[in-house]
């Protein structure tokens, strides 16, 4: 059974049809990329999956169970984590605290544990902090563990956001343009990171404009345009799909490819 299924999902803002009747599914361990021109509805689809937007119609299922209508934090608990296109870190929290927030939902520490610094609170805080530090370490961020998120270089902020998402112990990771604004070296690192996550068994849904990255890491690709799914398939299939080329390069271009 697929991990995540979108079943004719539609999201409408007033008169604007942002996502229209989109269906696709993700298998465990798979990396699926969502591509499409700007304004195609990719981020809206992400927001629908993570519960930020209530969907207008259709269904989103995780492990066959509907998650539409659940609040965002419940969806995170079910194992979906995400990053944001325009980095949304907790700017005035240290990097390690940012990551620790990801562990909040399963921590057993209650208010009074914190207030009275009970043994449970202390040991849990310690272990969570250790876990957070080790995540930072492995992503090469340990130097910045004590800095405010907003003081970190841009590329590292992207990584920190991934670290925070990983701290929520996801089964499915949604990455919204993780390569945006990265230099080529950082892009290579990112690619390696994604590959490593895949190897460790994580399922990934990716929005990305960098075609090289998309083609290299994705198992399958879904193409959206004007809120509709116009193509789905392996990187090779998508690359040659005329509708995709048309969407990306305009009508003339598609004519040109066809005639070529």
């Amino acid at each position: 059974m697929a991990l995540l299924e979108l079943d004719s999902v539609t999201k409408r803002f007033g008169g604007l049809l942002a996502v229209s009747n989109v269906s696709f599914s993700l298998d465990r361990g798979e990396i699926l990329s969502m591509i499409g021109p700007n304004g195609a509805g990719k981020t809206t689809a992400f927001n629908c999956v993570t519960g930020l937007f209530p969907i207008t119609s259709g269904q989103i299922r995780l492990d066959g169970v509907s998650i539409s209508g659940l609040p965002p934090h419940r969806i995170t608990k079910l194992g979906i984590a995400r990053t944001f296109q325009n980095i949304r870190l907790f700017a005035f929290m240290t990097a390690v605290d940012n990551v620790m927030v990801g562990a909040h939902w399963w921590m057993k520490e209650r208010v009074w544990d914190g207030a009275f610094q009970t043994k449970r609170a202390r040991s849990e805080e310690r272990s969570v902090q250790q876990r957070a530090l080790s995540l930072l370490d492995q992503l090469g961020l340990s130097r910045y563990a004590g800095s405010y998120a907003r003081e970190m270089p841009y590329g590292l902020q992207r990584k920190l956001e991934i670290a925070r998402a990983l701290a929520t112990q996801p089964r499915l990771l949604l990455l919204d343009e993780p390569a945006a604004g990265l230099n080529s070296h950082e892009k290579v690192e990112l690619m390696q990171l994604i590959a490593r996550l895949r190897d460790e068994g994580l399922t990934i849904l990716l929005i990305e404009h960098d075609m090289r990255l998309v083609m290299e890491v994705s198992h399958r690709i879904v193409v959206l345009d004007h809120g509709e799914k116009i193509a789905e398939g392996s990187p090779a299939e998508v690359r040659t799909n005329p509708r995709v080329i048309e969407a990306y390069l305009g009508t003339g271009a598609s004519e040109a490819t066809r005639s070529a």
């Binding site: 870190l89 700017a91 005035f92 929290m93 939902w105 914190g114 009275f116 800095s147």
Partner: protein, 522 residues
């Protein structure tokens, strides 16, 4: 010039997440100066009680007595002047781009220690040996004792600050606590004359400090603006009053009532917080303002015959446990409030550093990201309201018991504003700052403003400027208060002792959009 100023103000090394920097050092250093000068001038300050009583050193200089005491007094005076001037001198040097070396620190440490010892000797000479001439016409157990206590404390503080400078800067919170706590505990013993008045002032300080600490949870930690905070104060006070007064003929002890007051207030905090969860910052402010107005309205209208109408509830019990007769002197309230305040400060400090505290900051920084990271925004916000309200309910219970009357007027909008001003003045989101703010503002509201006239009269006759006596400060209280709020926000929006994060935030960033706004349901 600007750069130098900036370099001087920048108090901590770049990059570290420390909160208060060396401000604590400067505060303690100037407090030492302040104590020394107050010790010197105390009789002058206390005005009405002075009749023929003066402080030792001053009197000694004036009456030029003989004997060993004189020499001691002169030595003390020199030490006092040096230590009084020293922080200002150091600040000036820093401003000029130079620093004092460790030798200067050592000298001042010795001066401080010597000051403590010599003041002790002077006191012994006076109290034990009864060396009368030293002090002119002193009467035992009066203001001079308090002055000596204050002076000793000032010397000790100076010794601590200069002798352990790295420790003070490194462990600010601990150092601050170490420096301030003994003062708090021994305050009732330090003053012989008019102690009750002082303790009463300290009691209302503690009550307002508790209120501000509670509001700081809501405004500072969770970033939710609350303009009707006095409502919870009222709820706590009325709860206490209802269960410990003749009005319903229930007489429960205070120690139960503070928990009851806290519990009831936190319940209301959560209930009143619930409808505001989706609102943006300033809408939230207005709704809470509305609550703040409704609650006294209900009390005035004697809702369900619970509140006694415009007279409020009077004749509230004051506890009497064994030798602790709360009604006999405010000192028992003072010590209880001190204990409770310390407990609240420690608990809030812990909470701020625990999971919930982190969740609040996350919420304040970016509600959407917090929700997407698995934080339940609803419960986290409600928790902030509930905890904030519970502290204020606790303060309310003490207020009712201390004053023995609660009336609807006691919980007006201006009380909410005063508490908010304390938080803003001291430093939003920083517990130490809030404490400092409470000290300053309650001093201004309950002491300086009411006594401004008397002081200006005294001053005018001392320095012979008759014009001073004719300024009528008391009528300008509103104006002074308003100007202070404006200037505060324009010049130092982060407060006197800002938490570093909040300072930068207040000076630059905008507000994070609410989850509800993103979801399109608000």
């Amino acid at each position: 010039m600007r750069k130098r100023l900036a370099a001087f103000i920048r108090t901590e090394p770049e990059g570290g997440p420390s909160s208060a920097g060396t401000s604590v050092f400067w505060i303690l250093a100037s407090s030492a100066s302040g104590l020394l000068i107050i010790g010197w001038l105390l009789p002058w300050f206390v005005g009405p009680y002075d009749a023929g009583v003066g402080y030792s050193a001053q009197d000694a200089l004036v009456s030029s007595p003989t004997g060993i005491g004189t020499i001691l007094i002169y030595i003390l005076a020199v030490a006092m002047v040096i230590l009084f001037v020293s922080p200002f001198a150091e600040a000036f040097m820093r401003f000029r781009g130079r620093t004092f070396g460790p030798r200067a620190d050592r000298i001042r440490l010795y001066l401080g220690i010597a000051g403590v010892v010599l003041t002790g000797v002077v006191w012994l000479l006076y109290r034990v040996l009864g060396e009368e001439p030293l002090f002119g016409s002193l009467q035992p157990g009066e203001i001079s004792d308090s002055a000596i206590w204050l002076t000793m404390y000032g010397f000790a503080l100076a010794a601590l600050v200069y002798g352990a400078r790295p420790w003070v800067i490194g462990r600010q919170t601990l150092a601050f606590g170490t420096a301030v706590l003994p003062f708090g505990i021994f305050l009732p013993l330090m003053f012989h004359q008019a102690p009750d008045f002082l303790l009463w002032a300290a009691g209302s300080l503690a009550i307002y400090m508790l209120l501000a600490l509670g509001l700081n949870v809501v405004v500072g930690f969770a970033g939710l603006l609350d303009l009707g905070y006095a409502a919870f104060f009222a709820i706590g006070a009325y709860a206490c009053a209802s269960f410990a007064s003749p009005i319903h003929n229930i007489h429960w002890p205070l120690w139960i009532l503070i928990f009851l007051g806290a519990a009831i207030a936190s319940l209301f905090g959560a209930i009143l917080g619930a409808p505001t969860l989706r609102l943006r910052g300033d809408y939230l402010a207005i709704v809470t303002l509305g609550f703040g107005e409704i609650v006294p309205d209900l009390a005035t209208n004697n809702v369900f015959n619970l509140t006694g109408g415009p007279n409020g509830i009077s004749g509230i019990d004051q506890p009497h446990w064994g030798f602790m007769d709360f009604s006999e002197s405010p000192r028992w309230y003072y010590w209880s409030l001190l204990l409770v305040s310390i407990a609240v400060i420690v608990l809030l400090y812990n909470i701020e550093r625990s999971r919930v505290g982190r969740a609040w900051v996350a919420l304040r920084e970016d509600e959407v990201a917090a929700a997407a990271t698995g934080i339940n925004t609803t419960t986290t916000k409600l928790l902030a309201f509930a905890i904030g309200a519970s502290v204020s309910g606790l303060a309310g219970a003490f207020y009712g018991s201390l004053v023995t009357v609660v009336t609807p007027d006691d919980f007006s909008f201006s009380v909410s504003i005063a508490v908010l001003s304390i938080v803003v003045l001291g430093g939003i989101g920083n517990i130490a700052g809030v404490i400092l703010g409470a000290v300053i503002l309650t001093f201004v509201i309950f002491w300086a403003l009411p006594n401004m006239d008397a002081w200006s009269t005294t001053l005018s006759s001392t320095v012979h400027i008759p014009a001073l006596a004719n300024i009528n400060f008391s009528s300008y209280t509103y104006i002074i208060y308003g100007l202070a709020l404006i200037l505060m926000m324009l010049l130092r929006p982060g407060g006197l002792l800002p938490s570093r994060a909040r300072r930068i935030e207040l000076e630059s960033a905008g507000e994070s959009e609410s989850l509800a706004a993103v979801q399109g349901i608000a």
